[in-house]
Symmetry: C2
Subunit: 148 residues, 2 copies
Protein backbone atom coordinates (compact mmCIF):
# COMPACT_ATOMS: atom_id res chain seq x y z
CA UNK A 1 0.00 0.00 0.00
CA UNK A 2 1.44 3.35 -1.03
CA UNK A 3 1.18 6.60 0.88
CA UNK A 4 -2.26 8.13 0.68
CA UNK A 5 -0.44 11.40 0.04
CA UNK A 6 -2.00 13.83 2.49
CA UNK A 7 -0.19 17.11 3.10
CA UNK A 8 2.13 16.55 6.07
CA UNK A 9 3.06 12.85 5.76
CA UNK A 10 5.77 13.88 3.32
CA UNK A 11 7.52 15.24 6.38
CA UNK A 12 7.16 11.83 7.98
CA UNK A 13 9.05 10.02 5.21
CA UNK A 14 11.76 12.63 5.41
CA UNK A 15 12.19 12.38 9.15
CA UNK A 16 12.15 8.61 9.14
CA UNK A 17 14.76 8.45 6.41
CA UNK A 18 16.85 10.97 8.27
CA UNK A 19 16.93 8.65 11.29
CA UNK A 20 17.53 5.53 9.22
CA UNK A 21 14.03 4.27 10.02
CA UNK A 22 11.59 2.68 7.59
CA UNK A 23 8.47 4.25 6.25
CA UNK A 24 5.70 1.78 6.94
CA UNK A 25 1.99 2.14 6.19
CA UNK A 26 1.33 1.72 9.92
CA UNK A 27 3.44 4.75 10.76
CA UNK A 28 1.75 6.75 8.04
CA UNK A 29 -1.78 5.90 9.03
CA UNK A 30 -1.05 6.68 12.67
CA UNK A 31 0.60 9.98 11.91
CA UNK A 32 -2.28 10.97 9.65
CA UNK A 33 -4.77 10.02 12.35
CA UNK A 34 -3.03 12.35 14.77
CA UNK A 35 -2.96 15.18 12.27
CA UNK A 36 -6.58 14.58 11.29
CA UNK A 37 -8.19 14.91 14.71
CA UNK A 38 -6.01 16.87 17.08
CA UNK A 39 -7.82 16.14 20.29
CA UNK A 40 -4.84 14.58 22.08
CA UNK A 41 -5.90 10.95 21.81
CA UNK A 42 -4.54 8.12 23.90
CA UNK A 43 -2.76 5.17 22.29
CA UNK A 44 -5.96 3.19 22.58
CA UNK A 45 -7.97 5.94 20.90
CA UNK A 46 -5.46 6.07 18.08
CA UNK A 47 -5.79 2.31 17.82
CA UNK A 48 -9.56 2.58 17.41
CA UNK A 49 -9.24 5.25 14.75
CA UNK A 50 -6.63 3.60 12.59
CA UNK A 51 -8.33 0.21 12.73
CA UNK A 52 -11.07 1.66 10.56
CA UNK A 53 -8.72 1.85 7.59
CA UNK A 54 -6.25 -0.81 8.75
CA UNK A 55 -8.12 -3.51 10.68
CA UNK A 56 -5.08 -5.77 10.94
CA UNK A 57 -2.96 -3.31 12.95
CA UNK A 58 -2.08 -4.30 16.49
CA UNK A 59 -2.12 -2.22 19.63
CA UNK A 60 1.55 -2.99 20.25
CA UNK A 61 2.36 -1.54 16.84
CA UNK A 62 0.40 1.59 17.68
CA UNK A 63 2.53 2.00 20.80
CA UNK A 64 5.69 1.34 18.83
CA UNK A 65 4.81 3.76 16.06
CA UNK A 66 3.80 6.51 18.45
CA UNK A 67 7.13 6.06 20.20
CA UNK A 68 8.88 6.33 16.84
CA UNK A 69 7.00 9.51 15.96
CA UNK A 70 7.98 11.01 19.30
CA UNK A 71 11.62 10.16 18.67
CA UNK A 72 11.40 11.76 15.24
CA UNK A 73 10.13 14.95 16.92
CA UNK A 74 6.91 14.84 14.96
CA UNK A 75 4.71 14.21 17.96
CA UNK A 76 4.76 15.24 21.62
CA UNK A 77 3.67 13.17 24.57
CA UNK A 78 1.34 14.74 27.11
CA UNK A 79 0.79 13.42 30.62
CA UNK A 80 -1.76 14.37 33.20
CA UNK A 81 -2.19 13.36 36.81
CA UNK A 82 -4.41 10.54 35.88
CA UNK A 83 -4.90 8.29 32.94
CA UNK A 84 -2.87 7.20 29.97
CA UNK A 85 -0.36 9.16 27.94
CA UNK A 86 -1.78 11.35 25.20
CA UNK A 87 -0.25 12.34 21.88
CA UNK A 88 -0.08 15.73 20.21
CA UNK A 89 1.20 16.54 16.70
CA UNK A 90 1.30 20.30 17.31
CA UNK A 91 4.97 21.22 17.17
CA UNK A 92 4.58 24.95 17.72
CA UNK A 93 5.54 26.13 21.20
CA UNK A 94 2.38 25.75 23.19
CA UNK A 95 0.95 24.79 26.55
CA UNK A 96 -1.93 22.49 27.38
CA UNK A 97 -5.08 23.30 29.22
CA UNK A 98 -6.66 20.26 30.80
CA UNK A 99 -10.31 20.69 31.62
CA UNK A 100 -10.97 18.59 34.70
CA UNK A 101 -14.69 18.63 34.03
CA UNK A 102 -14.78 17.26 30.50
CA UNK A 103 -11.32 15.73 30.39
CA UNK A 104 -10.70 17.60 27.15
CA UNK A 105 -7.33 19.11 26.37
CA UNK A 106 -6.81 22.39 24.54
CA UNK A 107 -3.66 23.84 23.06
CA UNK A 108 -2.69 27.27 24.38
CA UNK A 109 -0.28 29.34 22.34
CA UNK A 110 2.84 30.48 24.12
CA UNK A 111 4.83 33.31 22.52
CA UNK A 112 8.47 32.44 22.00
CA UNK A 113 9.37 35.40 24.17
CA UNK A 114 7.58 33.91 27.17
CA UNK A 115 9.06 30.50 26.48
CA UNK A 116 12.47 32.10 26.56
CA UNK A 117 11.70 33.86 29.82
CA UNK A 118 10.73 30.55 31.36
CA UNK A 119 13.84 28.84 30.09
CA UNK A 120 15.92 31.53 31.75
CA UNK A 121 14.67 30.37 35.13
CA UNK A 122 17.08 27.47 34.94
CA UNK A 123 20.28 27.89 36.93
CA UNK A 124 23.65 27.43 35.27
CA UNK A 125 24.39 23.82 34.41
CA UNK A 126 20.82 22.97 33.53
CA UNK A 127 20.04 22.41 29.86
CA UNK A 128 16.41 21.84 28.90
CA UNK A 129 15.59 20.00 25.70
CA UNK A 130 11.89 20.62 26.12
CA UNK A 131 9.52 22.56 28.33
CA UNK A 132 6.09 21.29 29.22
CA UNK A 133 3.44 23.65 30.55
CA UNK A 134 0.08 22.36 31.68
CA UNK A 135 -2.86 24.23 33.12
CA UNK A 136 -5.39 22.30 35.15
CA UNK A 137 -8.79 23.81 35.65
CA UNK A 138 -12.23 24.40 34.30
CA UNK A 139 -13.61 26.44 31.50
CA UNK A 140 -16.80 28.34 30.91
CA UNK A 141 -19.44 26.58 28.79
CA UNK A 142 -19.09 29.14 26.04
CA UNK A 143 -15.43 28.38 25.43
CA UNK A 144 -16.07 24.70 24.76
CA UNK A 145 -16.14 25.01 20.96
CA UNK A 146 -12.55 25.48 19.82
CA UNK A 147 -11.30 22.11 21.01
CA UNK A 148 -8.24 21.16 19.02
Amino acid sequence: MRSSSSDHPAKLAERLAHSGLRNTPQREVIYRALLGKRDHPTADEVYSRVRVEMPSISLATVYNCLETLVQCDLVRQVNFERGPTRYCPNLHPHAHFHDEQSGATHDIDVPAEIMERIRELLPAGYAAKSIEITFHGRMAEAANEQAR
Copy 2:
Protein backbone atom coordinates in the same frame (compact mmCIF):
# COMPACT_ATOMS: atom_id res chain seq x y z
CA MET B 1 0.08 5.92 68.82
CA ARG B 2 0.09 9.68 69.15
CA SER B 3 1.49 12.21 66.72
CA SER B 4 5.28 12.22 66.67
CA SER B 5 5.01 16.02 66.70
CA SER B 6 7.52 17.08 64.06
CA ASP B 7 7.28 20.66 62.82
CA HIS B 8 4.93 20.63 59.84
CA PRO B 9 2.57 17.77 60.68
CA ALA B 10 0.60 20.20 62.80
CA LYS B 11 -0.53 21.63 59.49
CA LEU B 12 -1.62 18.15 58.51
CA ALA B 13 -3.97 17.75 61.46
CA GLU B 14 -5.42 21.15 60.73
CA ARG B 15 -6.03 20.48 57.04
CA LEU B 16 -7.51 17.08 57.69
CA ALA B 17 -9.89 18.42 60.31
CA HIS B 18 -10.85 21.22 57.97
CA SER B 19 -11.93 18.66 55.39
CA GLY B 20 -13.68 16.44 57.90
CA LEU B 21 -10.99 13.78 57.51
CA ARG B 22 -9.31 11.79 60.24
CA ASN B 23 -5.78 12.18 61.43
CA THR B 24 -4.28 8.72 61.27
CA PRO B 25 -0.70 7.68 62.07
CA GLN B 26 -0.40 6.39 58.49
CA ARG B 27 -1.16 9.84 57.08
CA GLU B 28 1.30 11.41 59.49
CA VAL B 29 4.14 9.06 58.78
CA ILE B 30 3.67 9.42 55.03
CA TYR B 31 3.52 13.19 55.17
CA ARG B 32 6.64 13.29 57.33
CA ALA B 33 8.42 10.97 54.93
CA LEU B 34 7.68 13.37 52.08
CA LEU B 35 8.87 16.36 54.07
CA GLY B 36 11.96 14.54 55.25
CA LYS B 37 13.44 13.59 51.89
CA ARG B 38 12.17 15.83 49.16
CA ASP B 39 13.40 13.89 46.18
CA HIS B 40 9.98 13.41 44.58
CA PRO B 41 9.50 9.76 45.48
CA THR B 42 7.02 7.41 43.85
CA ALA B 43 4.26 5.76 45.85
CA ASP B 44 6.37 2.64 46.02
CA GLU B 45 9.39 4.56 47.29
CA VAL B 46 7.25 6.18 49.96
CA TYR B 47 6.03 2.70 50.86
CA SER B 48 9.60 1.49 51.36
CA ARG B 49 10.50 4.46 53.52
CA VAL B 50 7.52 4.39 55.83
CA ARG B 51 7.69 0.65 56.34
CA VAL B 52 10.86 1.20 58.32
CA GLU B 53 8.90 2.81 61.12
CA MET B 54 5.54 1.25 60.33
CA PRO B 55 6.06 -2.26 58.96
CA SER B 56 2.38 -3.10 58.96
CA ILE B 57 1.38 -0.38 56.50
CA SER B 58 0.03 -1.51 53.14
CA LEU B 59 0.79 -0.17 49.69
CA ALA B 60 -2.89 0.51 49.11
CA THR B 61 -2.92 2.72 52.18
CA VAL B 62 0.11 4.59 50.88
CA TYR B 63 -1.80 5.29 47.66
CA ASN B 64 -4.88 6.31 49.62
CA CYS B 65 -2.99 8.59 51.98
CA LEU B 66 -1.05 10.27 49.18
CA GLU B 67 -4.35 10.91 47.42
CA THR B 68 -5.70 12.42 50.62
CA LEU B 69 -2.66 14.67 51.02
CA VAL B 70 -3.09 15.86 47.44
CA GLN B 71 -6.73 16.65 48.08
CA CYS B 72 -5.76 18.60 51.20
CA ASP B 73 -3.36 20.66 49.05
CA LEU B 74 -0.39 19.60 51.11
CA VAL B 75 1.26 17.64 48.34
CA ARG B 76 1.48 17.97 44.56
CA GLN B 77 1.54 15.16 42.05
CA VAL B 78 4.21 15.21 39.36
CA ASN B 79 4.07 13.22 36.15
CA PHE B 80 6.70 12.60 33.54
CA GLU B 81 6.54 10.90 30.16
CA ARG B 82 7.42 7.60 31.62
CA GLY B 83 7.08 5.89 34.92
CA PRO B 84 4.88 6.25 37.95
CA THR B 85 3.45 9.36 39.54
CA ARG B 86 5.75 11.21 41.93
CA TYR B 87 4.88 13.28 44.97
CA CYS B 88 6.16 16.68 46.03
CA PRO B 89 5.46 18.51 49.32
CA ASN B 90 6.86 21.82 48.08
CA LEU B 91 3.89 24.17 47.92
CA HIS B 92 5.77 27.25 46.79
CA PRO B 93 5.27 28.13 43.11
CA HIS B 94 7.94 26.15 41.34
CA ALA B 95 8.73 24.15 38.25
CA HIS B 96 10.39 20.76 37.92
CA PHE B 97 13.54 19.89 36.08
CA HIS B 98 13.66 16.24 35.11
CA ASP B 99 17.15 15.01 34.36
CA GLU B 100 16.79 12.33 31.70
CA GLN B 101 20.22 10.97 32.52
CA SER B 102 19.85 10.28 36.22
CA GLY B 103 16.07 10.35 36.45
CA ALA B 104 16.37 12.84 39.29
CA THR B 105 13.95 15.70 39.70
CA HIS B 106 14.90 19.16 40.93
CA ASP B 107 12.67 22.00 42.02
CA ILE B 108 13.15 25.24 40.12
CA ASP B 109 11.86 28.42 41.68
CA VAL B 110 9.44 30.42 39.61
CA PRO B 111 8.83 34.04 40.63
CA ALA B 112 5.17 34.84 41.14
CA GLU B 113 5.50 37.49 38.48
CA ILE B 114 6.41 34.92 35.84
CA MET B 115 3.70 32.56 37.04
CA GLU B 116 1.23 35.39 36.58
CA ARG B 117 2.56 36.12 33.11
CA ILE B 118 2.01 32.49 32.18
CA ARG B 119 -1.48 32.45 33.62
CA GLU B 120 -2.34 35.44 31.45
CA LEU B 121 -1.78 33.32 28.36
CA LEU B 122 -5.17 31.73 28.95
CA PRO B 123 -7.98 33.10 26.80
CA ALA B 124 -11.19 34.33 28.40
CA GLY B 125 -13.31 31.56 29.82
CA TYR B 126 -10.37 29.47 30.96
CA ALA B 127 -9.75 29.26 34.70
CA ALA B 128 -6.65 27.42 35.87
CA LYS B 129 -6.53 25.98 39.36
CA SER B 130 -2.92 24.96 38.96
CA ILE B 131 -0.05 25.36 36.55
CA GLU B 132 2.54 22.67 36.02
CA ILE B 133 5.87 23.47 34.40
CA THR B 134 8.36 20.75 33.64
CA PHE B 135 11.75 20.98 32.01
CA HIS B 136 13.19 17.86 30.42
CA GLY B 137 16.88 17.75 29.81
CA ARG B 138 20.30 17.09 31.17
CA MET B 139 22.52 18.84 33.62
CA ALA B 140 26.22 19.31 33.98
CA GLU B 141 28.01 17.00 36.41
CA ALA B 142 28.84 19.90 38.71
CA ALA B 143 25.22 20.81 39.29
CA ASN B 144 24.33 17.35 40.58
CA GLU B 145 24.69 18.21 44.27
CA GLN B 146 21.69 20.29 45.20
CA ALA B 147 19.10 17.60 44.57
CA ARG B 148 16.03 18.34 46.67
